[in-house]
């Protein structure tokens, strides 16, 4: 049976009901991965090894671990015990999470030989709910990028809809795997759009939860005040199912919030009648700095993406939502410059621990002293993007510059938060339940087109990053295909801890567009599988 075609809910239903065994589901998924994925990412890759039409989502496949877990699920069922809500559901994990006994690389040479001695909380929760991890998927090195091309493990993942294009990033392996039916769920992280942007590029659902909703314990840190683990899935209900497993406070992450977790599947089909959904002009254009002149340039986002967003608004209005136009979000365009400061300071701090002493890569030369060992190990262990982030972080937080840069960025972050507070204020002029925006300014770009231009690459997250500064949740939904057949994503942004509401709106949109032609189209990488 083609188990890869089934939703996570359907797999769990069958496994829990004894119609299918977790082992047969797992075996079917592992075989499907063999057919579509091609060679996993590796440090000694040579460019001739890219296999045309293959997804290359994985760094490490974990078939033995998966089959052991599947057998445990089947044993529980045989013993009459509850195997959990994700019983037998195969999933992948972005290789930025520690999973006990597996290489946990962050897609970096400096951690290539690191075997995690413990398991990250969200992964542990999925496994204790009966989920079956089939492998760890590729990403930008330490999550630093928006295309997954900066991975030290090449080939980097490809977009299943057109394997000459990037899947987005940094959770590119997660989005590509889900789009190519290599497991219905993937655990990603979003620091500036790293779940939502690749979800949009690959035509899947991606949810960045509220900061503090999902534990970061076991997540290899990038921007500690911005990082959010969350689900990628093929449909909204599967994202809700996964949130049920991973959300909630964790004594091992003091930043997780003590806020009740609703059942995200309950009332998922509550509809949108009476909800106020906003549109903001600031989310229909991008402002960026021209690399040659240093001058700001303003461009509208791609027409087909605007059109898909406005069509979604009409569909939601048709289902009883009230559309509120011209909601001002005046600091949207400062999200990226603010991020260039804050995330770099946090990254530099977080990267200082990699020193070739206790674990990870140490340069093999004979070192005259400790200092030269540090320098050589970090020089050879880190790729270009981590180095760029460290250097910027060092500069903008240096004592003589921090007031001009870092402190100012933190104040602008308050202003960005105020944009959201004002839009969602229940006594304010807009009183929104959610803001509807495009997920990205463009659809997936060709491999090699943007990589190397660190400013332009960062700006592909412009519509996502404000929610990271604000800490608020965001949901990206597939909303059609452009003329090149590439997926378009739309985004719903809501107030703190409103994931259930965003999922309800997403589900309503999914139902309203269920008969649209594009929903029957499948990624090219699945042809022949």
């Amino acid at each position: 049976m083609d188990y890869q075609e089934l939703s996570a809910r359907e797999i769990a239903r069958r496994v829990r009901g004894g119609e299918s065994s977790a082992v047969e589901v797992t075996e079917a998924l592992l075989e499907h991965v063999e057919r579509v994925d091609g060679a996993p990412g590796s440090l000694d890759f040579e460019s001739g090894q890219v296999e045309s039409g293959r997804v290359h989502a994985f760094i490490t496949r974990t078939p033995e671990r998966a089959l052991d877990q599947a057998r445990r699920v089947d044993e529980k069922i045989a013993a009459g015990e509850d195997p959990g809500a994700l019983a037998g559901v195969p999933f992948t994990v972005k290789d930025i999470f520690c999973v006990e006994g597996t290489p946990s690389t962050a897609a970096s040479r400096i951690l290539a030989n690191f075997i995690a001695p413990y398991t990250a909380t969200p992964v542990a929760r999925m496994e204790s709910a009966g989920g079956v991890m089939i492998g760890k998927v590729n990403l930008d090195e330490f999550t630093y990028g928006s295309s997954s091309e900066s991975s030290a493990f090449q080939p980097s993942p490809r977009n299943p809809w057109d394997t000459d294009r990037v899947p987005g990033g940094s959770s590119g392996g997660s989005a590509a795997a889900v789009a190519a039916y290599e497991g219905p769920l993937s655990l990603g992280t979003d620091t500036a759009g790293s779940i939502r942007q690749p979800a949009a590029f690959c035509g899947v659902v991606g949810l960045k939860p509220t900061y503090g909703r999902v534990s970061r314990y076991g997540l290899i840190a990038f921007g500690s005040s911005l990082d959010c683990p969350g689900p990628l899935s093929r449909d909204v209900a599967d994202a809700a199912l996964m949130m049920n497993a991973i959300a909630g406070p964790d004594s091992r992450d003091a930043t997780t919030a003590v806020v009740d977790v609703p059942d995200y599947l309950q009332d998922l089909e509550a509809g949108v009648r009476g909800l106020r959904i906003g549109l903001s002009p600031e989310y229909f254009r991008v402002t960026y700095i021209d690399g040659q002149t240093g001058e700001p340039v303003e461009n509208p986002i791609e027409k087909e993406i605007s059109r898909a967003t406005l069509e979604a608004a009409e569909l939601l209005a048709g289902m009883g939502a009230e559309i509120v136009e011209n909601v001002p979000m005046p600091h949207t365009r400062f999200g990226i410059p603010t991020y260039f400061v804050i995330s770099r300071v946090e990254a530099a701090s977080n990267l200082h621990r990699y020193d070739g002493v206790k674990y990870g890569f140490r340069a093999p030369e004979l070192h005259e002293d400790l200092d030269s060992m540090y320098r050589r190990s970090r020089a050879a262990g880190f790729g270009t993007q981590p180095k760029l982030r460290m250097l910027m972080g060092m500069y903008v937080s240096a004592a003589q510059y921090s007031e001009q840069y870092y402190l100012r960025a933190l104040k602008v972050r308050s202003l960005i938060r105020q944009d959201f507070d004002s839009a969602f204020d229940t006594d304010g002029p807009h009183r929104l339940d959610a803001l509807l925006t495009p997920s990205t300014p463009s659809t997936a770009f060709p491999v090699g087109d943007v990589y190397g231009n660190s400013v332009l690459m960062q700006y592909s997250d412009q519509l996502n990053v404000p929610a990271n500064h604000a800490g608020t949740p965001g949901l990206s939904l597939p909303a059609g295909l452009d003329l090149d057949g590439l997926p378009i994503g739309i985004q719903l942004l809501g107030p703190d801890f409103s994931e259930h509401r965003l999922l309800q709106i997403g589900k309503a949109y999914e139902m309203a567009s269920a008969d649209h032609d594009w929903r029957s189209r499948r990624p090219a990488a699945l042809a022949g599988s």
Binding site: I115, S251, V258, Y359, R362, L370, F382, K411
Partner: protein, 105 residues
């Protein structure tokens, strides 16, 4: 475009970051830093309201949402050997590093 980070300042940052760079890598990184700074400078065009506080995070943490403090108890670790085995050089219960720079008194 203004070259805010000149070669000398750049070398200082490389030292702070405990890195060593090839010429080619250094040129690329310095150019990208200066390009990113051009974007960062757009923040100066925002009038900051009087009394605006810096935000270290987005979501507020009132006491009722914050995790209670827990007892400070020692929890054992079962994987000491596996963890130590990851040290690049390990001998007789010690992690081994090259000579630590020092001055003889």
């Amino acid at each position: 475009m203004k070259e805010e980070i000149n070669a000398e300042l750049f070398d200082h940052l490389v030292g702070l970051a405990a890195l060593a760079l090839s010429q080619e890598e250094a040129e690329y990184l310095r150019r990208e830093l200066n390009n990113q700074l051009a974007a960062i400078h757009t923040l100066e065009s925002i009038p900051l309201p009087e009394g605006i506080e810096p935000a270290a995070r987005g979501v507020p943490y009132p006491p009722e949402r914050s995790q209670p403090l827990r007892e400070d108890v020692v929890e054992g670790c079962e994987q000491v050997a596996e963890i130590l085995a990851q040290a690049p050089e390990f001998e007789d219960g010690y992690i081994v590093v090259p000579e630590i720079p020092h001055e003889d008194l």
